[in-house]
Structures are given as structure tokens and as C-alpha cells.
Symmetry: D2
Subunit: 149 residues, 4 copies
Amino acid sequence: MTKDLATPAAATYSLAKLRDVNRTAALNRWLGFEVVRAEGGEAELRMPWHEDATQYAGFLHAGVLGALIDTACGFAATTVAGSVLASHYSVNCMAPAVGQAFVARASVVKAGRRQVFARAEVFAERDGALRLVATGETILIPVEKAEGK
Amino acid sequence: MTKDLATPAAATYSLAKLRDVNRTAALNRWLGFEVVRAEGGEAELRMPWHEDATQYAGFLHAGVLGALIDTACGFAATTVAGSVLASHYSVNCMAPAVGQAFVARASVVKAGRRQVFARAEVFAERDGALRLVATGETILIPVEKAEGK
Amino acid sequence: MTKDLATPAAATYSLAKLRDVNRTAALNRWLGFEVVRAEGGEAELRMPWHEDATQYAGFLHAGVLGALIDTACGFAATTVAGSVLASHYSVNCMAPAVGQAFVARASVVKAGRRQVFARAEVFAERDGALRLVATGETILIPVEKAEGK
Amino acid sequence: MTKDLATPAAATYSLAKLRDVNRTAALNRWLGFEVVRAEGGEAELRMPWHEDATQYAGFLHAGVLGALIDTACGFAATTVAGSVLASHYSVNCMAPAVGQAFVARASVVKAGRRQVFARAEVFAERDGALRLVATGETILIPVEKAEGK
């Protein structure tokens, strides 16, 4: 994937800072999100299986797939564009989301001054093997500090 | 919105049945989803404010907006197409999601034999007033009982 | 649909101006787009059947459905937000697109300072009757004149 | 990207067959689409600059970007799933689409029995260099021959 990470003038986020941000988000804590990696327009989240985060058939709820995609894309974006807000995301559900853990890998496709485009893949982990269960895209808006957001 | 609800041959869901389904979904229970209405290709969910379902800034997490949209659209679809599985959904985040409760209203736009298209709006409720905070779309796949799904 | 059309400070477009803009777009001219209506966050386009704009099965090409959705949403947005650029759009293909003409109706769902969300429906016209063949959404970025765009 | 190309039982398309299909689509002919490559879940289209396919600012019309994405994804899908119909596609416009030619590269992410998920990138070619101008996703429905479609 060709990438264009020409960064807007903004204070980008380090892995340490993203781990702090991740801890301040109540849902991320409850779901057990862990920031594995975040650098150079990429980020990886990990989440253990969570019995209470399921839909009616016992699979991981599609809303949690969305939370993983939206969060991983947002974190990837902050490494090149600083603070961002999600404005749009989409989720493709490709296989039943069951496993011992889930891994979401996001990467920035294009970082512009007014918008950052990122995308992510979510894998279910089972006995060490990863299986693709969902993909998604996110559009993020860089937030200037001067605006007090 | 013109609607085409020519229903596939399937056992459609009643409000009572959807309330049962809703109770069997662990995340829906934890988030406090309540099925207010479900009939004729439409469905409405309500969820009280939930302190543990927030992102870093204290707003409702975008993943929960996705869960509301995906679930409301799915429930709307079952009223005309019976059992369905979500294959794709998208979320537009339009305003900070804060309020005493959230209301998601979904309606089926087109119910085909192989796909059902639905869309939803999510409102934040504050002192009785509703404010649009998100919109979204969902594509659902009718699941034939014979397939044992 | 609840709408939030609190307009950014921008010179909004009139129907007359949009007809001029429409004429300067070569593809719009070739396809025969006609701006029927544009006001208050809404716009309607009409296009006669065009034998050379079809896909392999003889239906209107999905790319032309996209052109109708993207253009109608953009024109709707200019009536409240002035100049805009499309950053994202999506198309749901719901029925074979055949007819004597096509009508695209777009409306702004939310006009913010940094993004305008709009959506559209495309109908095939046949002997005076309209049939829904596609829906779509568009995210538009207001373009400040000072930026010379 | 992990891929799951477990193919539905269907007669897949060869490059030669796709070139025939491409020639039967009037819009593809008018736009000058050329099928460069198609095999194993991937496809590449090329289109020379086309003065009449532009929007008001003189860039390639976003609808044509959609036509390239939708077509390239569809062709990629046929190499593993046989005949398909597009049900949904989305387009991210990342940079002004100007160049001597455009190249669209699509690949199947997951081919299921009821749905095929593919995605594509569109590049503008200028003096031999490619620049990413758009990305997109498409959901396609396999069409069984028995249904006469």
C-alpha cells in the first residue's frame, strides 16, 4: 500500500502516551484493550476473549469489532497527525468472531491536513493462529490544540 | 423514503421474540439495550447513559454507536426477513455523544432475497429533547433456517 | 430526518449558480445531468437514459449511480456550505438500474464547519413511475475561498 | 492482507473472458478501460486520461473513480467466484485525480458463498510515476447460473 504520511504540524503520539489515553477510556478498559504497538502510522491492539461482549449467538458483538477498528485506526492516526476525532468508520464482518483473543492492526493510508484515512483488519487468535474476521476503514479529523479540544 | 419490503419467505420476528433475543446477547444486556418498538421493517432501541461505555473524552464510545446501529438495523430487518446476519455497517459520528440516554431508530430500505439494506439514526436524549449524534447503514444477509444457522 | 444546517460562514450556491457549475463539468454534460432543484440543503438531479453509460448487462453502470449520488450530495451541500470537495461516498445497488430517466434526490443531514454529511436516493423513472434503484452517502469538506481552491 | 479465497463452486473467469466482458460494457469502452491483469483474486485496469470524464475543476470525476473501483473489484471477484453483481461500494477521494492515465488495482479479501469482499486502489500515472488518488471497497454477490442472471 502506497502511503502518504506527510504529517500536519501537530504533536504526534508515542506508544507510552497512547497507553495512557487507552487507560482513560472506560470502554477500552472494560473490554481489555491493550496497545501492543503504535508507530509510523501503524497501531496494533489486542483484546482477550470477553464473555460479556458477545451478541446473541455467542460471537464477539459487531459493535466491539467496530470499537477495535475505530480505536486502532485512531491510534495509528495519532502517531502521524496528533489528536484526531473519528468522523466515519465502516466494518465488514467476514467470519464468526470467536477466539481466545482478538488482534486489530491499523495503518494510515493517507494523512492530509483536514482528514486522515486509515484502515484496519481484525483477527481472531486461536492456539496461536490468526484468522481474519473483519476489516474496516476510518476517516479521522485532526484536532488543532488551539481549538481547545 | 420509498421502501420495498417484499419479504423473503421467512418466519419474521415479533417484538416479544426480539426482546428475548436482546436478552440473550450479553453485550446488549451490559449496555442496557431495551427494544422499544419493532414492526413492519422498523425498530427502536433505547439505552440509558452508561459511564463505563465511554471513550477517552467521556463521550459514548463510537463502538457503542456502532453496536446501536448494527443492532437496531438487524432487529428492523428481522421483522420482515426473519433471521439475519450483519455483513457490513457504517457509522457517521456527527456530534459528541453525551446525554441521559440514547435512542436508535432503524428502518429497512430494501429487503431482497439475498440482502436487506437498513439504516439508522442515533439520538442523544437530554431533558426530553433528542439531538442527532450519529447515522449509519447496515447490510444484512437473510439466514435460512435450513442452513442451521 | 432531523437536520442540522447551521451553516459555516460561506457564500452558498443558488440554483442558477449550480446550473453553471453543472455545465462546466464535462462528464455531467456528457451524461446529460440537469439540476432540477437546489435549495435549503436539498438538491435534485435528472438524467435521461444514456445508451453509452451502461455496464455489460445493459443496466446503468454503477459508476454512473455513484456520479449521480456524489454530484447530487455535493450540490445539496453547496446550498448551505458554499464550495465543497467530496472526500468519501458510498453506493448501495438495490435493483437493476433501467428506465427512461433517472432522478437523484440528495439532502444534507448535518453541515458542520469541517464536514458536511449528505445522503441521496436514485430512482429509475418508467412511464412516470419512480422506482428506487440505489441509495448512497457522501462526506464533503467545505473549501474556504481564501485557500484558492 | 490475509486472504480467504475458498471459492464457491462456480465457473471462474479468465483474463480473455474478462476482456470480452469489458468490451460489452458501453461505459467501459467509452472511458477506455483496459484489463491489464486478472488472476487469483486480483485484477488491474488501466484507463488513459479522458477529457470528457472530468468534474467542474477539471479533475477526473469521482463517479469515474467509482466506476474504476467497482469494475476492478468485480473483475477480481470473477476470477475466484464466477459471475457476480455489485451490491455496495465506497470511494475515498484522497488527492486530485489528474494524470496521463489511471491504474486501478483490486484484490479479493474474502470470497464467501453468499458474498465476496474486495478492495481497490486507484493511482494517477504521470511520467511513469504512480500516485495514490483514491481507495475503495466493494461487496459482490455471486450469481448462480441456474438463476439465469
